[in-house]
């Protein structure tokens, strides 16, 4: 495992995500998210899961993000107005928004604590003989053991399609 690649990719990932959440212009957020997905795909390859990386780029970035872009441009989404006042005060002020932010921080701390208690678990690296998961392996598992889930998901997608069309329709005059 290339440690350096990991740290670089991880940094990009976190930074981009923070900025996604912090940006005021939704268009900027979308692009930043694409960047974070790319970093994530890189991490997947590092983890020996090329299939997942490919799916991530093609489906997530190529389809979903494009969809987001379409919607942002269609709606001419307005730039979120700047909130006045101190950032810190905004962060920890009253109201569900800010309390939610506090909660998230608490949650992060909790998870970190949980992780610290775990024993260190080293990852097998490629040059130590850990196999790379090929499409063949995944396909075998998918259609042998998860066949039902596969079919169910396809029905789900169909339903989502129909739903999206119905919901976004203009009222018939």
């Amino acid at each position: 495992m290339d440690a350096i690649s990991f740290w670089i990719l991880a940094t990009i990932l976190v930074l981009a995500s923070v900025l996604v959440v912090g940006q005021r212009n939704p268009m900027h957020s979308v692009f930043l998210l694409i960047l974070s997905f790319a970093a994530l795909a890189g991490l997947y390859i590092l983890l020996g899961a090329p299939f997942a990386a490919m799916i991530q780029v093609i489906v997530y970035v190529g389809a979903i993000m494009v969809l987001f872009l379409f919607v942002v441009m269609l709606l001419n989404a307005p730039t979120e107005e700047a909130t006045s006042g101190d950032r810190i005060r905004r962060m920890f002020g009253a109201g569900p928004r800010h309390f939610g932010a506090v909660l998230s921080a608490v949650f992060a701390v909790e998870l970190a604590l949980a992780l610290i208690r775990l024993a260190s678990m080293p990852m097998p690296s490629a040059d130590r003989g850990a196999p790379v998961a090929t499409v063949y392996d995944i396909g075998l598992r998918l259609f042998h053991d998860y066949g039902f889930a596969f079919e169910a998901t396809s029905v789900l997608i169909l339903v989502a399609m129909v739903g999206a069309i119905v919901l976004a329709r203009r009222e018939a005059r």
Partner: protein, 673 residues
Amino acid sequence: MSLLLIPLLPFLGFLVNATIGSRLSKSTSATVAVAAIGLSFGVASSVVWSLVHVAPVAGVRALDAVVFTWIQSGGLTIPVEFRVDPLSSVMILIITGIGSLIHLYSTAYMHEETDSEYARYFSYLNLFAAFMLVLVLGASFPLMFVGWEGVGLCSYLLVGFWFTKQTAIEAGKKAFVVNRVGDFGFILGMAAIFATFHTLDFQQVAFRVAQLPVETTAGVLTGITLLLFLGATGKSAQLPLYVWLPDAMEGPTPVSALIHAATMVTAGVYLIGRNAVLFGHAPLTLNVVAVVGCLTALMAGTIGLVQNDIKRVLAYSTVSQLGYMFLAMGVGAFAGGIFHLYTHAFFKALLFLGSGAVIHALNGEQDLRRMGGLKKDLPITYWTFLMGTLAICGVPLFSGFFSKDEILGKAFASGHTVLWAIAVLTAFLTATYMFRLLYLAFFGERRAAPVTAGQADDHGHGHVAAHGAHLRDAPPAMAIALVVLAIGSVFAGYVGVPESLGGGNRFEHYLAPSFQAPTMATIEGALTVAAPTIEPAPAEGQESPTPEMALMGVSVVAALSGIGLASFIYLKRPSVADALAERLSGPYRLLVGKYFVDEIYDAVFVQPIKRVSTLFLWRGVDAGLIDGTVNSVGFAVRGLSAVLRRLQTGSVRAYAMSLFAGVVAIVGYFLWR
């Protein structure tokens, strides 16, 4: 098996008339009802016939029929069991026999009602007969109590039959409520019996009581019997619970005949007779019974002297005669009391039905002061009424003479001389007021209402009499009943002719086993425990004829002088009555006001209870406490929800946040562990 038919047949008659009666024609309803009770009489007769031929077992002669087990709980098993023995055989013959005649009479008397009312009347009448039969045939206290309550219910229904009339409704309520007070005593007595003897079957109780010594001081048995006697005073209209019977005259006259003369009011006497062994072991109670009976007889006799409503006079005379029966029971002459019950059933029913015929002929007139001269217009009614009057006065050769005389004789022989004297005085009063009734109603000329000092005792049951209208005598249905009862009033007493007059007093000997304990715990022969010999009830043995003849002579003299006094005043010098009323106006008003007992009860019991109920129970407990509790639950919910609904902010983010907060909490909890 046929024993069950006796109460079942009238019950079926009730069911038919109660359910489809309104759609039946009058003749069909009547046929159903009369047939039901008539058949029951037939079955009863055959049952009694077989009973007479049954050999006594363990000193008890009885026929049993068990239907099913009603209650089985812990150590208590109560089967629905009917038992006929000599005592109940007499009762069932009276109930079904005289009952049939009254049913027959009613078919004509009630003919002016609508079809549905007619059917309703007969359904109640049949139901009453069914319950009364259950009462006397029941083999255990609870079953008897079923009948006891049932006849109370039917009495309420029948007294208040014309429910559109306010006085009738109130009379029905009064009857039921006063009975209830007595029933309270009955229930307590029943519970005490179970607690003491752990059984409620009559024979078992008698057997166990016989093992105990006679209680000469107040003890458990005295308490039990006093409680039972309280119940008996309610049902049989003795002091202090007699007040419902005169008011109960609001009901149709055949109802008065059946319920208040021949059957229901005798339930109390039957109760004591049925528990003769138990009462025999509590002589203190028997004394109370005798005194109460005697005083009631005297008191009612005095009131009856001045009443102006024909039915009221008969009502008070019933109370008085019941007093005689209780006097008999109280001095230990159980057979004598039942004998008087039996003869009384005949002549009292006859008198009531006769008065009904008079009322019927006069289109509802009940005031004696407006009657008179009916002897020539209503011959059948007059002659049968005369038979009944002679019987009730105890004139020799009529049935009442034998039964009344036996009571007086036994009272004297048992040493209760004072009670005997009062009873003789009451016999004198009975003769006086009964012949007063006879003369005022049937003799002389038809009168208009006299102008007296404003004592109005008027209770017409419908429209005012028509003067001088052509009077119709009793129609056939009524006449048959009257004639049969008249024959009975004359001849029924001959089963009990005492030894001193040459008869064998078969009635008393027939009934004797009913008043003794069985010598075995169960008569099925399971146990063979011989009961110790018990002291017989006081003075049942042979008496030398001479004192008895003298006593008989005294009572005859009393009766004849009463008749003489009445004849003098009401035939020869009617003005004497009014003059006496003027001069003794104080006592007169007291008597007419019935000693103001009703008013006293009202002030002492009724009004305070009403006030407490209104102020405390109604406003305080019901409206305040119960409604308040329920309402406050509602208010609490409303208040709480008013607070809680603020959680619905409409902001989805807030909801999501609360979800997330829960997740954080749970994860935190597991971390912490």
